[in-house]
């Protein structure tokens, strides 16, 4: 399985399954399935360096919510990796939800990742990439040109 990362940690950490990690919560890497309760990681997000979130099927979108909770609510800043059925057409969504590394077998994935951030120059929702939304840009434009 090829790894594509923007995280820059180049960590070769072994992520422990959530049940095992709970026995050793000082371990800096955990692998969650998409029903694991991310909220439970709250006391440890400062020490965690790698969290992997799993897509059993690309059409199962639960891990997008987990990612946003980890980044937005718990303030996790380490590497957030998407594993499982990860396809290039999910990238614009994944990047916005705070993923910064990806395991994928799909041909052309690296090229797609290079382009994914610029595929859409406008966003409507505030998300974990902290891009200014269209609504905010409109407001600011009005302030500058009343």
């Amino acid at each position: 399985m090829a790894l594509f990362t923007e995280a820059g940690t180049s960590s070769i950490l072994i992520a422990l399954p959530y049940a095992d990690w709970r026995q050793r919560p000082q371990w800096p890497a955990v692998a969650l399935v998409n029903t694991d309760p991310v909220e439970e990681l709250a006391p440890h997000v400062g020490e965690l360096r790698l969290i992997t979130l799993h897509f059993p099927k690309f059409s199962d979108g639960r891990a997008y919510s987990q990612a946003r909770l980890l980044r937005g609510r718990l303030g996790y800043e380490g590497e957030l990796r998407a594993t499982g059925n990860v396809l290039q057409d999910q990238l614009p969504f994944m990047l916005r939800c705070g993923f910064d590394s990806f395991e994928s077998e799909q041909k052309g994935f690296a090229e797609a990742l290079a382009k994914a951030r610029t595929l859409f120059s406008v966003v409507y929702q505030p998300a974990e990439d902290h891009r200014a939304t269209a609504a905010r840009l409109r407001l600011e434009a009005n302030h500058f040109f009343p």
Partner: protein, 558 residues
């Protein structure tokens, strides 16, 4: 050409739609080159409006909150002509479906659509779908606030939402701004009803978990009053709870109504409120300036003062019975004196409900330009609406619609039938819907009789997925397949009126296609014999119950 009186795209909206078209063009190219499997491609095409039907691809174009300019309607006509067979089908969700699109043409059709600030995003697939509204919005006399302002805010928030693009199942939101709900908010995944609380503030009743389909349910009120600035924060909380906990193990149990049903409304409320509280104060709060900026774009047209009583109209009413009936059925009061709301019936006798040819669409666009501020609405009852017509222009509008075949005086009557495309087009259907609708429509074509029968809503679905809303028809007709024979199950007593929302109850054994008209005839006869003064069909049913109807139908049919 008159300026529009609803939301106009700015460069941000145009850029996003254009970029989406180019992204899809590349996805289609990769599909045709074999780089994407059909399984991988399916959600990509669905969320761009492309659905695979029985015979061909269908393109479902979003008409947000059912509002169109004449220019947009002309473009839809031109796309129907250029990329399809010259006609389209207006749906119960205020979309337009073109039934014969070629995959390789789809990106070009979408690019043309973008030229008039329209798209087909999220009209299919497991995402937040096109947001629907009252088709009389901005003109209705009973309106508290124009619901389309809120639909547009929700449209933007839900478009390409990074977290909610792979939901357990599709997700439909409807907004009404009037106490007389014309948007069926209790049978949507989320229904929003604007109302003014005792303190005089406008906010939303948030209704969650309604829906039709194979497990019809009436939505539950999760929040009595939500301050309007909090709308998106609250919607995000509901969607997050659904995305995390909605069932994904069984396609038929994946809608939010099942989650609400299984958790119970109290637990659901607790989960949503907890999520909402945790996200509170975040970036989703809507600044007043943002709301006002969008609201300004929905400012009603400046309507010149026109007389409310017009001698020519009064005279024609007396001399032409069809015109008088049309005024009664198809013309509704407008909030501005001297104006009216006109419904163009897309249900002429014997025609497939909701269909319009390219020439008819262009004809309606011309009428809208000449008499109706260049604006057209699509109703969930599959008709077109001209929201701002001067009373003095009603005779001209009636005649012009008549030449298009859209002046049938049957709105709300027995031939104003809602029907899904059924087995003529749809791969899911068990039975045909359109021919059944056509047969009923022909049988009851006589207008005086229709008006005597009065308000009666027939809704027909070709399968249990209930796209024809049969559960909420006063008479609901559901096509079922029994050993290869198309049979029709009849239910009575459904309703979508706010305060009266009810699901119909099955009357008895299903009947064959050639007996449906007889059965409906028997139901109508029972009603006519039993009704008291001014009582509508559904009210008589509620008073006397199913038995007399049942006896008559099965005594006649079998």
């Amino acid at each position: 050409m008159p300026d529009t009186h609803f939301y106009r795209y700015d460069s941000y909206d145009r850029t996003l739609v254009a970029e989406r078209v180019e992204q899809f063009r590349d996805q289609v190219r990769r599909r045709l080159a074999g780089e994407l499997t059909e399984e991988q491609f399916k959600p990509l095409r669905l969320t761009n409006g492309l659905y695979l039907q029985l015979h061909a691809y269908m393109l479902r174009i979003a008409i947000p909150y059912g509002t169109l300019s004449s220019r947009q309607l002309r473009k839809l006509a031109s796309i129907a002509r250029k990329y399809d067979r010259g006609y389209g089908h207006f749906t119960t969700r205020q979309n337009l479906q073109l039934n014969w699109i070629k995959l390789e043409d789809a990106p070009d059709a979408l690019a043309e659509l973008a030229e008039v600030d329209m798209h087909a995003m999220q009209t299919s697939g497991n995402v937040i779908r096109n947001v629907t509204a009252d088709h009389f919005a901005g003109a209705a006399i009973d309106e508290i606030e124009d619901p389309r302002i809120w639909c547009e805010i929700v449209r933007q928030w839900s478009t390409l939402h990074p977290e909610f693009s792979f939901l357990p199942r599709k997700f439909k939101i409807a907004v009404t701004g009037s106490p007389n709900d014309r948007a069926a908010v209790r049978v949507h995944d989320i229904g929003l009803r604007l109302w003014r609380n005792p303190a005089g503030e406008v906010g939303f009743e948030v209704i969650v978990g309604g829906g039709l389909g194979r497990t019809p349910m009436i939505g539950k009120t999760v929040r009595e009053f939500l301050p309007r600035n909090e709308l998106l924060a609250y919607l995000e909380a509901v969607l997050r709870v659904y995305n995390r906990y909605g069932r994904r193990d069984n396609l038929y149990k994946a809608r939010i109504k099942i989650l609400v049903h299984e958790l119970g409304v109290e637990k659901m409320r607790e989960e949503v409120e907890a999520e909402y509280a945790a996200a509170r104060g975040g970036p989703l709060g809507l600044p007043d300036e943002t709301i006002e900026a969008i609201a300004r774009q929905f400012a009603p047209p400046a309507l010149a003062e026109r007389p409310a009583i017009v001698p020519e109209v009064e005279a024609l009413k007396l001399e032409d019975r069809d015109f008088a009936l049309w005024l009664k059925a198809n013309v509704s009061p407008h909030r501005t004196p001297g104006y009216a709301i006109v419904t163009a019936s897309l249900k002429p006798a014997g025609a497939p409900p909701g269909d319009a040819s390219a020439a008819q669409m262009e004809g309606v666009a011309d009428i809208a330009d000449a008499y109706a501020q260049g604006e057209i609405r699509v109703s969930h009852e599959q008709n077109l609406v001209l929201p701002h017509v001067a009373v003095a222009d009603l005779p001209a509008v009636w005649r012009a619609l008549g030449t298009l075949g859209f002046a049938e005086a049957n709105v709300g009557k027995i031939t104003d039938i809602i029907a899904c495309p059924g087995l003529d087009y749809c791969a899911l259907a068990n039975a045909r819907s359109i021919p059944v609708a056509q047969r009923i429509s022909n049988h009851f074509a006589e207008l005086a009789r229709q008006h005597d029968i009065g308000d009666l809503k027939i809704k027909i679905s070709g399968c249990i997925n209930a796209c024809g809303h049969h559960h909420v028809g006063h008479i609901g007709i559901l096509g079922v397949d029994k050993n290869g024979v198309e049979l029709y199950q009849i239910s009575l007593g459904g309703d979508v009126d706010f305060g009266n929302t009810a699901l119909g109850a099955i009357l008895g054994p299903a009947v064959t296609a050639d007996k449906v008209v007889e059965a409906v005839d028997a139901l109508v006869a029972t009603y006519l014999e039993s009704r008291t003064d001014g009582e509508r069909f559904v009210e008589t049913y509620r008073r006397i119950g199913a038995q007399p109807f049942k006896d008559r139908v099965y005594g006649t049919v079998h």
